[in-house]
């Protein structure tokens, strides 16, 4: 506040009429004693709104910007910061958005939770457990602690703006520990989101749960609506592709391995190979098809493609290493098989693929 006053003083001396008018308005605001809140809403496209948040729900945020309320749908918002929050929290937020969960957690460790209040504390809690949970899916966080933390956030603040993110992550964590029924509940809850992409995620992940439960016909039926929907964003387009791969995995399980394989090959030839997670899924699916067709060499090279070129998606990479552990023995490469097993144990210690038989 003091900083602002000094600026205004300088300005008022030397500037032409228009500037003076602006500074007077700003002076008025200061003088009148209205607290100048520093909540910020960073939108994906457009200027950041700065003011006082008056409403924050799982669907939208309303911010009072100098007396005028502006409402944004959360799908348009990149991030929200709060007045008086510690700077480490925002750094952690940015790191989490970039997927650097470990670094985000390190930033959060520098904050005394007890000194926080209200929304700031809620956001701190959210990022702490969100990063811990996400990190555990990468293979190294404390999964059970994250689950407990997220469940408690969900209960304490069911209408918070992170609601659907919490649901999705809880669903993925439940999936990771093969608690399929619980996972399905969380994913189905995503369907209530107004965001089309989150709805699409709901369909995709529910389909994935059904697939993992061996209910391939049901999984296929679930995915149908997503497959036939028009993609409203690049992210949704991507989810559609993931769903297409999952659908082909279902076909494989249902005995149509060759047809599934042909379509997966066509996808691989068509899609952009810089989408590493997509190609990892395609390759793993191809590996599954080849295993069903009793072609261990081809299955091995499919999983190897994930391992050697498309290893950034940890769940797919762990899955590939799991299969390689056995397949490389079958194709006469026992040393490499042992290495794959070792890497699976070291890199993905908390992954369900590590202990799978």
């Amino acid at each position: 506040m003091i900083h602002v006053l000094k600026q205004l003083t300088r300005t008022s001396c030397c500037q032409p009429t228009l500037r003076r008018a602006v500074s007077c308005a700003a002076m008025l605001v200061v003088v009148s004693g209205v607290s100048y809140a520093q909540d910020r809403v960073y939108v994906r496209q457009g200027t950041t709104a700065q003011g006082s948040i008056t409403e924050l729900t799982p669907a939208k945020v309303t911010i009072d910007v100098r007396g005028k309320e502006q409402t944004y749908q959360l799908k348009e918002v990149r991030k929200i910061t709060f007045d008086k929050e510690p700077i480490q929290l925002d750094r952690a937020r940015d790191l989490a958005l970039e997927g650097k969960y470990q670094q985000a957690l390190e930033e959060l460790r520098g904050i005394q939770r007890g000194s926080l209040e209200g929304r700031v504390q809620q956001d701190f809690d959210f990022y702490q457990w969100y990063c811990e949970g996400s990190q555990s899916l990468l293979g190294s966080g404390d999964q059970m602690a994250a689950i407990k933390g997220l469940v408690s956030i969900d209960k304490a603040n069911p209408n918070g703006h992170h609601r659907f993110e919490v649901k999705e992550l809880l669903g993925r964590l439940a999936l990771a520990i093969a608690n399929y029924d619980t996972a399905k509940k969380f994913f189905e809850a995503l369907d209530q989101s107004p965001d089309a992409q989150q709805k699409a995620s709901s369909i995709y992940y529910t389909g994935l749960v059904l697939f993992m439960q061996g209910q391939t016909a049901e999984a296929k039926a679930k995915l149908k609506s997503l497959l036939s929907a028009t993609a409203s964003s690049p992210e949704m387009g991507r989810l559609k592709l993931f769903a297409a791969v999952l659908d082909l995995r279902c076909e494989n399980e249902m005995g149509n391995s060759q047809a599934a394989l042909d379509e997966l090959n066509a996808m691989a030839d068509r899609e952009d190979n810089t989408d590493l997670p997509l190609f990892a899924k395609i390759n793993n699916a191809r590996g599954d098809c080849y295993q069903k067709l009793n072609q261990p060499q081809r299955a091995a090279y499919s999983y190897l493609q994930t391992d050697l070129l498309f290893f950034t998606d940890p769940e797919s990479h762990a899955e590939a290493l799991f299969h390689l552990k056995k397949l490389l023995v079958a194709v006469g490469e026992p040393a490499k098989a042992a290495q794959a097993g070792e890497r699976l144990s070291k890199q993905y210690a908390s992954s369900p693929w590590k202990n799978k038989k």
């Binding site: 090959n265 066509a266 691989a268 030839d269 068509r270 899609e271 952009d272 190979n273 810089t274 009793n294 261990p296 060499q297 081809r298 091995a300 090279y301 190897l304 493609q305 050697l308 070129l309 552990k325 023995v329 079958a330 194709v331 006469g332 490469e333 026992p334 490499k336 042992a338 097993g341």
Partner: protein, 999 residues
């Protein structure tokens, strides 16, 4: 070697074929890369440039994969052939591919490799030259020249103004072409040089070739200013060639120029090679000091990443050799102190080289061995120094441990010398060995004292806990080496139990296991008590490090002991705690499964009456053999084969034919899919047994109508041919083959006996007869014998309760035909039939004749056998049976069947014993011949009855009464006879006799 001309793959669109292929190559997964390459060709998304170079890529994969194999591996030659085939196909394409020169150069490299292998094969240098190598080098040279011509043409088309200076791609391509021209020129010169070196020493072309190469190298060196690599190699090769033609000073100059190059990091390996050559030249000129100094100047400034390079290791070996030569000279000159210092330094350096492994370690070992024992007492090693702290103690003990370990290698080499020596020399060497061992033990004891002193100085608050572990671990290791096994076990076990799940804890576990192994090797220790001590530790290992080799070894050892004691429950328990994915566990599964299988077979052979127990053992064996088959990898061929074969036999016994087929014939690990290519890894006996089992499986498929007769015939013939191939390698193998052929004939006979349908029997017999007829056309005697034996078995199996059928007659006739030819040939060519098989052939002939009702022919052949030796019991019984059958047309033969016939003029005793004597002889050995005794007594009574029935009334009654009496006597002495079946038939015969007597 060369930059690829391949067009850059679009980084975004579709599957990254090239990138992935490159990755597979980097990972040395060549087989998978080849499959991927094949598959890529069929994909729609692959671009034309990639497709156009498929043969080249395939060739490169085969080449790289071949280089990894030992020159002796048969697959290496196959892969090199594939390389050549694909390269030539690529080069010979009508359209000129941008990568053609790359293919040519690679083909040239392949030809040079073949030349080098031809030289190695020819053995130590011969003045006569290696013509094969000359041929290959010549061919390589021609290829390089063709590449140069073609590349020069391309370069010409891209010269100067013909290329737009803004066209970066074309300019890069032009530069690439220029590099390839220079490379081709260098290789062409090398090929000429090597061609010359491979010629005979008196061939004038030999020197001429090398001189020509020197000219070409010089030209390259002088003309090529830009490409430092090409220039340097040209200089290197030129110097080598100059040495060859005696221009040593020129060569020294060349090498020195290379060594003096500055700021040439990429060329450092070449510099080391040049230095190596220079040192050798200087040493050969007895300029030892400059040789040693030059080498040391470089070796003392090695970069960390250079230490393990082959060029540096080679230089270290040369440096050691030149110092040894110098040492000898110094000793001759009386400079023993300097020589002694050199000796110590060389030994120390060579010991370090032992850690490098591979050929360099072997060479270092050889050199150390030739240097003999050091004989010098290093007093410093035997003193216990004062240490300030644990860190110092670790350093001091480390030095002593390394010295002791290195000296132990000397001991090992001395052992070899002792074994080879004799007399006084042996005694002297043994004394020397003992003295050295004693010194080594002292050094180790000192190391222990140092560690103890260090441990006392350990400060809980300041010092590193890992050092504490390290010190204790070393103590355990030293105690083990000193033979204080129990102490070593105690310390090692403490360390591993207090560091569970860590690599260090596992290392300590290795010490414990070695300790237990040492204990078990001692004669004064009861193995079971040691195992009882090991058991809980083994369980700890498995629980804590389930995937470790140590856990597998410990549990495996316990299991083995239990197997030896036939304690199946305990063996299963010990193995059951190991995860199936533990490395090496498959072998232990196999040991248990094989032991159970042997037990089952023993019970079968002993005709055990406890069928439930037998089946239980069989099923247990199946479980472990299945686990073994699932868990051993395909590289362990003997284990895969053994488990598949035994398990297939069990599956056949369990009527699970499909499972047997998968195991032996067409599953992923089925031996019939890979046995041919791995015969060098399998004993001939195992291979032959495998073919036998495979045959049994196919036969069963025929019986179950799971395969058509034609393909079954073809398959079985294939196995017979392979069996023959394996069995012909040595006399022992031939004997084994005969035994297996005989066993196969028995297998078939038993199979036929099991079939209750006449139609099935005939069907199987028809298939096998075709097989046998074809097989018997072979020139190999044993195959003919097998064929005949099988036909006899088929014939017997298709008889109807001893009476002939059309199938059996046909089989007997074919058998007799083969056997007749064998016998006739043997009459003309003595030894045609192996002496130990002659009687087998004769008896089969006789059997076949009998089967065709040619009883005279049969008797004649039996007589040939018994005239030589009448003690063949089975033959005697066969004769008696034939006589019995002859009696159908002439009842007097019943008498002969009873009392025997054919008196020996010398002994006056009957060569044919008859049932009477047979029963007497066998009665004396009832523990072995009970079955034959009861058979003889039965037939005796039967013949009596039949003979009696052909006589007049008085004689009839006499004979029938005698028959009745003989049955009663036998029943009286042996109420249970040979079992329930015997009791039944004896009773039936008695009733018949009594009926004839009117009772």
């Amino acid at each position: 070697m060369l930059l690829s001309h391949g067009f850059a793959e679009n980084a975004n669109a579709g599957e990254p074929y090239r990138r992935f292929l490159q990755k597979l190559r980097e990972e040395r997964l060549f087989d998978l890369a080849l499959v991927y390459l094949e598959d890529s060709q069929k994909r729609s998304g692959v671009d034309q440039e990639f497709l156009s170079a498929v043969e080249l890529e395939r060739a490169l994969l085969y080449f790289d994969s071949a280089l990894l194999l030992s020159p002796k591996a048969p697959q290496r030659a196959e892969k090199l052939n594939e390389t050549e085939k694909n390269l030539r196909k690529f080069i010979d394409q009508p359209s000129k591919h941008p990568r053609r020169s790359e293919a040519r150069l690679k083909l040239g490299a392949l030809l040079q490799l073949r030349a080098e292998e031809a030289i190695k094969l020819a053995g130590p240098k011969k003045d006569s030259g290696v013509a094969e190598a000359v041929k290959f080098y010549d061919a390589a040279h021609k290829l390089y020249e063709e590449a140069i011509t073609e590349l020069a043409q391309i370069e010409n088309e891209l010269k100067g103004a013909r290329v737009d200076p803004q066209d970066k791609d074309k300019i890069a391509y032009r530069n690439q072409v220029r590099i390839e021209i220079r490379e081709a020129q260098l290789y062409a010169a090398k090929a000429i040089e090597d061609r010359g070196r491979s010629r005979a020493s008196e061939d004038p072309q030999r020197k001429a070739d090398v001189e020509k190469a020197i000219e070409l190298y010089s030209s390259l060196y002088l003309k090529e200013s830009g490409l430092a690599g090409i220039r340097t190699f040209a200089l290197l090769y030129r110097s080598g060639a100059q040495v060859f033609v005696g221009k040593t000073e020129d060569a020294i100059d060349g090498y020195q120029r290379i060594i003096d190059l500055e700021n040439a990091d990429l060329l450092r390996p070449v510099q080391f090679t040049a230095l190596n050559e220079l040192v050798q030249i200087l040493a050969s000129q007895e300029k030892y000091q400059p040789a040693v100094e030059r080498a040391e100047a470089w070796l003392s400034k090695l970069r960390p990443d250079e230490r393990d390079s082959s060029e540096v290791l080679r230089l270290q070996i040369t440096h050691a050799k030149s110092r040894i030569q110098w040492m000898k000279k110094l000793k001759e000159e009386g400079e023993t102190k300097i020589a002694s210092r050199l000796d110590k330094a060389v030994r120390s350096d060579l010991r370090l080289l032992l850690r490098a492994g591979g050929d360099f370690a072997d060479e270092a070992k050889e050199i150390l061995s030739s240097m003999g024992a050091s004989g010098t007492e290093d007093k410093a090693s035997l003193e216990v120094p004062k240490v300030k702290n644990l860190t110092e103690a670790l350093e001091e003990s480390q030095k002593r441990m390394e010295d002791a370990d290195a000296e132990s290698l000397n001991i090992a080499m001395m052992e070899e010398q002792i074994n080879a020596a004799g007399g006084q020399e042996k005694q002297d060497l043994t004394a020397q060995r003992n003295a050295q061992q004693s010194q080594i033990d002292q050094v180790r004891e000192v190391a222990i004292e140092i560690l103890k002193a260090g441990l006392l100085k350990y400060d809980n608050k300041k010092d590193d806990r890992t050092q504490l572990f390290a010190a204790r671990f070393r103590m355990a290791y030293l105690l083990l080496k000193l033979g204080d096994t129990r102490e070593a076990i105690v310390v090692g076990e403490f360390l591993s139990r207090t560091s569970p799940g860590t690599p260090q804890g596992l290392n300590a576990g290795s010490v414990v296991l070695q300790g237990f192994r040492d204990l078990l090797n001692r004669k004064d220790v009861e193995p079971m008590s040691v195992m009882a001590e090991l058991a809980p530790y083994a369980e700890f290992l498995v629980a804590t490090w389930p995937q470790s080799a140590e856990a597998v070894a410990a549990s495996g050892a316990l299991a083995q002991l239990a197997i030896n004691a036939k304690d199946w429950d305990r063996a299963e328990k010990n193995l059951g705690i190991l995860p199936t994915s533990s490395p090496g566990v498959g072998k232990h599964y196999f040991d248990l499964g094989a032991a159970l299988y042997d037990q089952y077979r023993k019970m079968l052979a002993e005709k055990s009456t406890d069928e439930a127990a037998m089946i239980a053992v069989r099923d247990r064996a199946a479980k472990w053999l299945q686990l073994a088959n699932d868990n051993v990898n395909t590289e362990e061929a003997p284990l895969v084969l053994g488990s598949a074969r035994a398990l297939a036999q069990i599956r056949l016994a369990q009527n699970q034919t499909d499972a047997a087929v998968k195991l032996m014939l067409d599953g992923d690990k089925a031996p019939m899919k890979w046995l041919d290519s791995k015969l060098d890894q399998i004993s001939p006996a195992s291979a032959m047994e495998a073919y036998r089992t495979a045959m049994q499986v196919v036969v069963q498929q025929v019986v179950e109508d799971k395969v058509d007769s034609d393909s079954a015939t073809k398959t079985i013939l294939g196995y017979v041919a392979k069996l023959q191939e394996v069995g012909e390698k040595s006399d022992d193998d031939r004997k084994r083959m005969l035994a297996i052929f005989s066993a196969m004939a028995t297998d078939l006979k038993e199979k036929l006996a099991q079939l209750d349908s006449t139609k099935k029997r005939s069907q199987l017999a028809e298939v096998l007869m075709v097989v046998v007829e074809v097989a018997a056309k072979s020139d190999v005697v044993s195959t003919k014998m097998w064929g005949a034996g099988t036909l006899v078995a088929l014939a017997e199996g298709t008889e109807d309760k001893g009476n002939s059928t059309p199938t059996s007659e046909k089989a007997f006739a074919k058998a007799k035909d083969i056997l007749q030819k064998l016998v006739d040939t043997n009459a003309k060519q003595s030894g045609y039939i192996p002496a130990n098989s002659l009687n087998l052939v004769r008896s089969q002939y006789a059997r076949a004749a009998e089967g065709m009702k040619d009883y005279t022919g049969a008797i004649k052949m039996y007589a040939e056998i018994l005239d030589e030796n009448d003690a063949f019991l089975e033959i005697q019984m066969s004769v008696a049976r034939v006589l019995q059958k002859s009696a159908q047309s002439n009842p007097s033969y019943y008498k002969s069947a009873i009392v025997g016939a054919r008196p020996n003029p010398k002994t006056q005793r009957n060569v044919f014993w008859g049932w009477g004597k047979i029963s007497q002889v066998t009665n004396g050995k009832m523990d072995v011949f009970a079955e034959q005794f009861f058979e003889a007594r039965y037939q005796l009574a039967y013949c009596r009855m039949m003979f009696g029935m052909s006589m007049n009334a008085k004689e009839r009654t006499k004979e029938l009464t005698a028959a009745e009496k003989s049955i009663a006597e036998t029943r009286g002495l042996y109420p249970n006879l040979g079992g329930p079946e015997d009791i039944k038939r004896y009773d039936a015969l008695l009733k018949q006799i009594q009926k004839e007597l009117g009772k």
